[in-house]
Every structure is written in C-alpha cells, then in structure tokens.
C-alpha cells in the first residue's frame, strides 16, 4: 500500500542501513585537497595584522585572507551583513579569520600554524542584560486593543520572567562542502545542506559569478534541524575560495568540536510577561516583551524574531495584547535557525505563565487551558480568524483522557502534600518523586507573513522518454523523509502508481528554486505544488480524451481500462518531444498580512499539539528523569503516518534534551561545552517512552489552507511542547518553581534555596 495514509518503506532506507548511502565526507574528487579554517580566539578584538609564513607551512599549502576576496565580504542571506572572513574586527570566538588548503587533512591543520595574527582585545558584550541597553540587531512590535486599560480592569495581574538557553543542533553528520572549478570557470559545490539555492545565491553574490556558472548539489544530508539552513552558505564560500586559490577541488569538513564552536545555535531568550486575568481565569490582557540573543550578526534573527512574536501569545484567546520583541547583539557566534525558529522559546514562556496564573487562582493546569484555548472561529491577537481545523481543545481533551491527567496529578499532589506534612520531604535516600505536567502548543506552518507570496515557489514536472513523470524540486531529505512522502503525494494526485513517478536530485542545474527545506513547508507547500503539477501533467496526457480519468496507473474511459498511463505518456513524449510544466505556489487570496503592524493572517494554517510528561526526580540530587511522554498532535492529514510520528518522536526528545540536559556554558565568550563529551544530548537511556497519537482534522481531503490532502506542516511542531510540560512536571514532583531551562540539578537546587515556587518567588 502506497496511498495517502500508508507508510511505505523510505526509498533511501536500505542504503542508509547498509552503509551504502554517500554523505559529503564519503566523497572524494580526483586531485582533491583539504581545507582548514583559522578562527578568532577572542570574542571581540581588532585585528592588527595577519602574517603567513609559507616556510612554516607544508609544501604547496595555500592561504586565503580577507584581502583575497574577489567581491563583497558578505554571506548573502536576507542581507549580506555576515562577513565571509573577519575584516578589521572579530566579533565572536571562532569567527573565521583566514583559510588554508593543503594536500591532506593533517597538512591543512598543520598549515594553520604558519599564520601569525595580532589581535587587540576589546570589551565584549556577552549577556542579554548587557546587550539590552545597546541598539538591537532588529526589533518588532504588535498592538491589539488597549492593553493598559485591560490591565487596569483585570481582577489580577500576574508577572513572570522566563529564560531559555542556547541549543546546539548536533546533527550526527557535521557540516561539510566540496568545491571544484571547471576549466571554463564554472563552479560546482557539493554538500550537506537544506537550501541549495541559498548556497547558490551566496556564491554568485560574493564571487561575482552568474547563476549558470554556479551549480550546487546536495548530497545525502545527515540531519539538519535548521543547522544546515544558513551555515552551509558560509562553508561553501570558504571551500570555493580555497579551490580558486589552489586550482583544485577542495573539501572542507568540520569535526564535531569545530562545528560546535563556530556554527549557529538556538537563540537564548528572555521573555517578560505581565498578564491581566479575570477572577474565573480568563486572559484579559497580555503584555509581552521578548529579548533574543542574536549573537554577532543578524543572519536570520529578524525572521526568527518575527515567528517568535507570532507565537508568543500561545494558543489562547485574548483581545488586548502588546508585544515588543528585540533581537540583541552579543559577541557570540550568530544564533540562527533551529527547529521551531523562535517559537519553542516563547511557547515555553507563555505556558509557564499560564501555569503561574493557574497556581495563583487555584486552578489546575488543564482547567486554565480549557478556559482559554482557541477554538474554530476565534481570533488570534493578530486578527486572524482561525479555521475549522483549529484543534487546541481536541488535542487537550484527548491527551488528558489518555493519561488520566487530572486524577494522576491529584494523586501526585496529594503524595507530595503528605510527605511535606510528615516532614520527610528532605529526607536523604528517599524514593524518587513522581510528577506530571501538561502543555498546549501550536505552530504556524510555512513561511511567516508574506514569505510564500513573495517567493511564489515553482515546481516542475516533465515526461521522461519511458513515459514516467519526473518531478523536480530543490527540497533536500535531511532525514525527515520527503523522498518517501513526495512520491506518495504525486502518485495519489495523478492517479498513478509509485513507479510511474520519479524525483530529480536537488541540483540547481536541474531543479527550479522551490525554496528552502525549512519552516515545516516541505510537505504542506511544496507537496501541494507537487500534487497540482503532477495532476496538470496527467491532464496534458489526457488531452483529446474527454471523460477519461487515470486510476492506479491506468487510463480509464467510462467503459473501463483503456491503456497504461505510461504507454500514452511515452507516445506523447515521442511525438511531441519534451513535455514539461511548471507551476508556482500561490497562497490563498484571503491570507494577507501587514508586515508593519503585524496584523493579519501570518500563516495559512496552524498545527496543534498537547503533551503530557511524567517525570521522576531524585530527592537527593534533583536529577530529573522523564519516564513517559504522551503527545497528541493534530496534523491535518498524515501522508505517511510512520514518518509523521517519527518527526514528533524525534522533536519531542530534542525538546526534552533542551529542557533538561543541553546547557551551553559561556566563559569570556567561549563555549565551555564544545564537544560531545561535555555537551550532552539524550542517549537512549535518558529517553522516556514517547507515545504519539495523531489527530487528523482533514481526513476527507481538502482544507482551508492548501496543503495536499489536508496535510499540515509537522516538522517543528513537537519542539514547542516538551519543555513547558517537563517544567510543570518538575514543579508537581518537587514544589520547586522552574522559570528557566535547562532545569539542571544545579539550577533546581539554586531555585529551591531562592524560594522559587510554582507561583513565583516566595
């Protein structure tokens, strides 16, 4: 079975299991050299001089410094303010200062010793507090109603400050690129990436080449999570500059240490909430301030901040809302895209604030959410009227039913009260404390605001000489499984068999720019285009056959099967030559958004989720162990339920890692946890059982948002729910308030001593 809702084996599965799949570092080109990067040891410094002593370098090694750049010193993303190599100043530890290439990886590392750089260290800004007084990288605001009046009228005003930390992607395959020039000056770059056309644009911009002179091909991608959205553009430029300098192909692959030191992370964030509520627990006013640590350069911070603003009010009803959001500049590596793209940080904050409000009012966490969750027809603070697939309440009710949340929470609360009454709360060697927590979350699928409208992504389909349909997109399969889902969509939309359809590799010389593989847009936006373009090409083959349809790969007349679709397509292709169609994405006309006031429909639709997490906390060490997660997610329609659930399982564990284990400590701007021995991600033994239950609001097809067969974007959704649920569970287990993550034992102890409670500081 390969239809919509079936889970066929992914086509790249066995190659990955057997070791046959080729990742970037598995490739070698004839005559290829290896590159290495000289990096700044200072968070902020003036570069006085850079000297290269060829006599100290291995034979033939070449170097590239900022003076060798043939064009602007900027990696083109939204703008080109991110330097390819540090110029007169370095703005973060690990910033690239110079490059070398040599015949072997070892020789390239040795060649770095031939540089002498004189730095003049300067004061560095290394915290959000220090950055707050300085001009921001970017700022945004949104106003709905009259917040001050609503706060003045409210029965209760609750304040809270919530913090989240850096998170490193830890894709298991580190970043890497190979660049090679042909004799005619054309450049080809191979690499691990999410966005081949981003890389191409950066290369043409900085190297002064025309589009047709730069070919970018994605190799098998060993995990991305946003970490291969913007950074590959910089590495591709470095590899290309070295290839240009030495006249050979150059491979530039980061080892884990280098990848952690210099690549982007999730933005550390501080959110301040001031919320007016009525006596019966309804939100009356939301006053929200968001501060995100953008690092040294803006890169994608402006759009991360935008998505953060648009998720900061959570899946709740409130008419009077004021949001002020700033991305601040610090002397750390630029923080950028990471699964969720700003939403997980602000949803952590609003969920924690809802818990605090519930605590003040004596409501339980389920009740406060049931009273405020949005329903179909409700308005978000942006003014967007929510569609019929709005599923906050169904998710909440289903997760509470499956976990007996209310009863279980009362049992655990009673146990904690009993222990406190008996005075054995602090007894050494006591049994682990159990706690349960719940969260409600949502995620806008596709690009924010007018992004999709401006991009108008194209997808192309063409007939191959053998009568199959070939579909061409620029999407990369970084593990999420579009290589399995796309053929399902095309076959179902065209009435074809899976073997009647084939997909081109993401190669800018072949495929159109269907946009980046980001923002949970791959299935929903590009998948929708694949469905349309495949059906349109099928109709082209059916021209002149009125009343005929295609089903299961056969052309059918009202009287029955006529012939195989492929036979008719092959004939058409032979008679007419190339038959090719390109369609562009067009957002629904009603989806309009004002980028200055932040009013309107920021996303065509939202996916919804509710998590319940049960944890165990060691009363002596305050170590937290998640035991069980139940995630109920509404995804419109699961094209491939196994892969869809896989996104939720993996995203949920990433969220738990961020909430409990993954802490990036900084000292003088240097990450102390700059290797896998010290930056700890969840092993299988740290991982709870994760039960995923999919709700599908559009099983019968269609929907108001344009996703194929009703599918919504799902990749980022699960990142939003795990952290607030686990924080609430820790409070339930221990009574210690959790205003920040990661909730490490050291921090829990500090909060306990400082009198942090679920209602705030005592």
């Amino acid at each position: 079975m390969n239809g919509i809702g079936a889970s066929p084996p992914r086509p790249d599965g066995f190659a990955k299991v057997s070791g046959a799949a080729r990742y970037l570092d598995d490739l070698s080109l004839p005559g290829m050299w290896h590159g290495a990067t000289l990096r700044s040891p200072h968070a902020h410094a003036r570069i006085r001089s850079i000297a290269w002593d060829a006599a100290l370098a291995p034979d033939g090694a070449v170097c590239v410094t900022v003076g060798d750049l043939p064009g602007p010193n900027g990696v083109q993303l939204i703008d080109d303010g991110w330097p390819i190599l540090a110029g007169a100043f370095t703005h973060h530890v690990g910033e690239p200062v110079a490059l070398v290439a040599a015949p072997t990886r070892l020789a390239a590392q040795q060649a770095l010793q031939a540089f002498t750089v004189t730095y003049e260290p300067l004061d560095a800004v290394l915290s959000l507090e220090a950055a707050e007084a300085l001009p921001p990288l970017y700022q945004l605001g949104m106003d709905s109603g009259d917040v001050d009046a609503a706060l003045a009228r409210a029965d209760l005003v609750v304040e809270g400050e919530y913090r989240t930390g850096h998170q490193e992607h830890i894709y298991i395959e580190c970043n890497g690129m190979i660049a090679s020039y042909a004799e005619d000056g054309a450049l080809t770059v191979l690499g691990s990436m999410q966005c081949p056309y981003y890389v191409q644009k950066a290369l043409t911009h900085a190297l002064g080449l025309a589009d047709e002179q730069v070919r970018v091909r994605a190799t098998t991608v060993g995990g991305g999570f946003g970490g291969k959205e913007d950074f590959p553009s910089a590495i591709a430029l470095h590899a290309a500059l070295l290839a240009r300098a030495c006249g050979r192909p150059v491979k530039l692959v980061y080892d884990r240490h280098e990848d952690i030191v210099c690549t982007s992370k999730r933005h550390p964030t501080l959110v301040r909430h001031r919320t007016g509520v009525t006596r019966d627990g309804r939100l009356a006013a939301l006053d929200i301030e968001i501060l995100m640590d953008g690092g040294a350069y803006t890169t994608l911070s402006s759009v991360v901040l935008s998505r953060a603003l648009l998720h900061s009010f959570g899946p709740y009803r409130c008419a009077d809302v004021r949001i002020r959001a700033r991305a601040l500049r610090t002397h750390t590596a630029p923080n950028s895209a990471f699964r969720g793209f700003g939403a997980p940080q602000v949803e952590f904050a609003i969920e924690r604030q809802m818990d605090r409000i519930a605590h003040r009012l004596g409501l339980d966490p389920l009740e406060i959410r049931l009273r405020n969750a949005v329903a179909p027809g409700d308005r978000l603070p942006t003014g967007q009227i929510l569609d019929a697939g709005t599923s906050a309440l169904p998710c909440l009710e289903e997760v509470a039913r499956r976990t007996r949340f209310r009863e279980r929470r009362q049992e655990l609360e009673a146990a904690r009260a009993r222990r406190a009454a008996e005075g054995d709360e602090d007894q050494n060697g006591a049994e682990p404390r159990r706690g349960i927590g719940l969260s409600l979350y949502f995620h806008g699928a596709g690009f924010t605001g007018n992004g999709e409208r401006m991009m108008k992504s194209p997808v192309t389909a063409r007939l191959l000489p053998d009568g199959r349909i070939e579909v061409l997109t620029a999407m990369t399969d970084m593990g999420q499984g579009c290589s399995a889902v796309f053929p399902q969509i095309a076959a179902a939309a065209g009435g074809l068999l899976p073997e009647d359809v084939t997909f081109a590799e993401p190669d800018t010389a072949e495929v159109p720019d269907s946009g980046p593989t980001v923002a949970s847009r791959t299935t929903m936006i590009v998948g929708g285009l694949i469905a349309r373009v495949t059906a349109a090409l099928r109709d082209r083959v059916l021209e002149g056959l009125p009343g005929h349809t295609v089903r299961d790969g056969w052309i059918e007349s009202p009287a029955g099967r006529v012939e195989r679709f492929r036979d008719a397509a092959r004939r058409l292709r032979a008679e007419h030559g190339p038959v090719e169609l390109t369609l562009r994405h067009e957002p629904p006309a009603w989806q309009t958004f004002d980028e200055t006031t932040y009013r309107g429909a920021a996303y065509p639709t939202y996916a919804w989720g509710a998590d319940v997490v049960e944890v165990e906390v060691d009363p002596d060490t305050l170590a937290v162990r998640p035991l069980q997660v139940t995630a109920v997610c509404e995804v419109g329609r699961a094209i491939h339920p196994t892969l869809c659930a896989g996104q939720i399982e993996g995203g949920t564990l990433q969220a738990l890692g961020w909430a409990l284990l993954e802490e990036m400590k900084l000292e003088d701007g240097r990450y102390l946890n700059d290797r896998l021995a010290t930056y700890v991600i969840p092993t299988i033994l740290d991982s709870p059982r994760i039960d995923v239950h999919l709700l599908e609001s559009h099983r019968d097809g269609g929907g108001p948002f344009g996703g194929p067969f009703g599918a919504k974007g799902v990749g980022e959704l699960p990142m939003d729910g795990g952290a607030p649920a686990v924080a609430q569970a820790i409070e339930n287990a221990t009574g210690i308030g959790v205003p920040a993550i990661p909730a490490t034992p050291e921090r829990l102890l500090a909060w306990q001593r400082a009198g942090q409670t679920p209602g705030g500081v005592r």
Binding site: V17, S18, G19, A20, R256, E649, L653, L676, I684, R689
Partner: protein
C-alpha cells in the same frame, strides 16, 4: 608501516602510522565509508565496528591493535544477514528506525552484536545495548520498534 587484518572476512593490508585511527584507515584507505565519524572522541557511536566479534569505537582504535584480528564493518554485516538480524534490518526501515541515517551504521553494528548473543532481546536489553549510540532524529522509538516486540495499546 603495514598492518594485516581480516576485513569483512577478506585479508587486507593497511599502510599507516601505528597510531592511525582505524576509522580513517577504513574510510580513506580501504574505501569502507559506511562507518561514520560523528564526534571523534568515543561519545556518539557512529563509527562502531566489530573487532573479533565485539563492538568497538573505530575512532578510538589505533591501527596497530588490529594486526591479525577480525574487523567487520556495516558493509560486511549487512551484506548477507541471516536469522534475527535479517528480520530486524527488514523491520528497521519500516518502523521508522532510519531518518537521516548518519547514526544508522553504528546502530546496525551494535544491534548485530546484541542479536548474535540474544535473538529476542527485550526493550530494556536493546536500550542497554544502544546506550553508546546517539541518534538525534528518531527519539529512539522507531529503532526500538524494529527490535522489541510490540506492547499492547494501553
């Protein structure tokens, strides 16, 4: 300096410094790129191979230790799998055990070693065996579904 060992049942000789990492010898000299580097310091398990039948981290094994011994990589282990390993590998893709695939070779080698001594491991036995193999994509659930018998829906 040349070091002789058995690689997936075939006699090979590798040239290199005695302290060369087995990982590099396999990938760069012997063309066995199925074995992956994830961290280079023995934390992630992506480079797991079998040495005389036991799983080891090839980024931490110097070449000289391999002299005269049996090395099996993911390519050899999956070439003609039999019995419980064959069944597990067939399920592995179907259950969502594979996403990006960068950790997968190391996990397959570790599981092959587990299944060689325990054809029907429990969920807990699989978790213990895989404690040294990091996966960032799956949340481990898809991997566990491939190995451990399904439990009834609660």
């Amino acid at each position: 300096m040349s070091t002789a060992f058995l690689l997936n049942g075939r006699a090979v000789e590798a040239d290199g410094h005695p302290m060369s990492r087995l990982l590099d010898v396999l990938r760069e000299q012997l063309g066995h790129t199925g074995t992956k580097e994830g961290c280079g310091e023995g934390e992630c398990g992506a480079c797991t191979v079998r040495l005389d039948g036991s799983p080891v981290l090839s980024c931490l094994v110097p070449l000289f230790q391999c002299a005269g011994r049996r090395i099996e990589t993911v390519e050899g282990i999956t070439a003609a799998p039999e019995g419980p390993l064959r069944d597990a590998l067939e399920r592995f893709v179907a259950t969502g055990g594979v996403q990006c695939g960068a950790c997968t070779p190391g996990i397959v080698v570790t599981l092959a070693s587990l299944l060689a001594s325990n054809a029907t491991p429990s969920r807990e036995e699989v978790r213990t065996a895989l404690a040294g193999n990091l996966c960032r994509c799956t949340g481990y659930e898809g991997i566990l579904r491939a190995l451990a018998p399904a439990e009834p829906e609660r």
